[in-house]
Symmetry: C2
Subunit: 221 residues, 2 copies
DNA sequence: TTACGCAAAATATCATATATTATTGACATC
DNA sequence: GATGTCAATAATATATGATATTTTGCGTAA
């Protein structure tokens, strides 16, 4: 009877969690902003308990700062922080990429090629000046990098990487700018190196890719 | 007027968080166990709201599994998981150690020597068969490894490492055994390499140290 | 200016109501 | 007789609003 066509039972807590996390990453909630329970209750239509659950979770992930008896704040941004995040992304994603290239099978290659193709469609539109798809473009970017390391065979590594990637993404969204087709070229180069199982080259280009994004973001600070 | 001599206002939420995390790491709450809200309420003397805040946080850190509409469970243990954790610890702690050795100043050396000394006192007592101080010994072990990487100059890296270290610690506590003075010798060797600023050697011994602990733990599975 | 104290606002905690899942047992089917 | 289906009930998780503490802001006095 497909009453739960798409898992209709999305709990208020989980949807609120996703919404607030999204709003932090995409800059709708400004860095350092006070997160007043009553205001959030108004905006997201959830009770204080739910919001406190959510904010405590996000504090564990590092997107929110919880100060005892003084409430919650959006995690601030800083030069040092983005540098740390970028370097951690190089470390984690580079390591995962190496493992993934060593272990990936035909399915992995298939998903990877598909993810790159879908990303490239967006890159073409961005280069043509269509910024309306910025969020979709970034999601495709996320999915491509995710696909690259999917075969690393370590859930713990993927979980840590996911958090760091999202933090890096927040900085990219804050500076708003598009790095042109440089990034697209690097994506293609990483794809080719991965498919030819050249993990050293793939790691090098990935590092270049991430650190170029870092420099680009730092200019805006 | 030191009215808050030692931050007297420890909130119910934070103490409950610490207690449950401790009980998971030290095996008082068995892997895979169902965490019933009503039972926890009884045991820890906190309301369901507080417990849900706590369990949601711990789920973000990976010590608890939250299944939508079905409740909370202590994170299960497995061979694959401990292998992933050990390898992540090598990656993160190794990297942080290298940075720390490059950047550490005299204060860092001082804290490090002190931490090793205090750890060694416990190692001597463990070797003498006094297992009553097992928990203190492990805390000193934690503090020594923490002191090693403290100068890495990346709060994000330290935060990730702390979580991974605690997960590794849980596996060590599960198997209960003491690796004899091997570990003590390795600790001393890492200390010496760090003080002589030989990061390559320090990293190597650290990797040996962690992977030996892994093998030791795997025997008990 | 600094210190004090009161009022207002915000957070932390709790007890309770609502919604969902799990279990039991009767009845039908193979 | 064993197995499968369904409805009623019990158990549990989710969500809310109310209460108790704590912090903050502001006016007043030294």
């Amino acid at each position: 009877m497909l009453k739960n066509a798409q898992r209709a039972t999305a709990t208020v807590g989980s949807t609120t969690h996703e919404r607030i996390k999204h709003d932090i990453i995409f800059g709708l909630l400004a860095p350092g902003a006070k997160l007043k329970l009553s205001a959030l209750k108004e905006h997201y239509g959830a009770s204080v308990s739910i919001l406190r659950e959510t904010l405590n979770s996000l504090a564990s992930e590092g997107f929110v700062i919880a100060e005892e008896q003084r409430g919650f704040f959006v995690a601030p941004v800083s030069r040092e922080d983005i540098e740390e995040i970028a370097n951690l992304r190089v470390l984690l994603e580079g390591h995962a990429l190496k493992l993934s290239i060593e272990r990936g099978d035909a399915d992995w290659e298939g998903h990877l090629v598909a993810a790159h193709h879908k990303l490239h469609l967006m890159e073409v539109r961005m280069q043509a000046g269509d910024v309306s798809i910025r969020e979709t473009w970034k999601r495709r970017d996320w999915e491509f990098h995710q696909a690259l390391i999917q075969a690393c065979d370590s859930k713990n590594l993927l979980a840590l990487h996911s958090i760091i990637f999202d933090k890096y993404l927040r900085y990219q969204m804050l500076v708003l700018t598009f790095r042109g087709d440089e990034a697209a070229i690097e994506h293609k180069a990483i794809l080719d190196a991965a498919l030819s199982r050249d993990s050293a080259t793939a790691q090098n280009i990935l590092e270049t890719h991430i650190l170029a994004g870092l420099r680009h973001a730092l200019m805006a600070f």
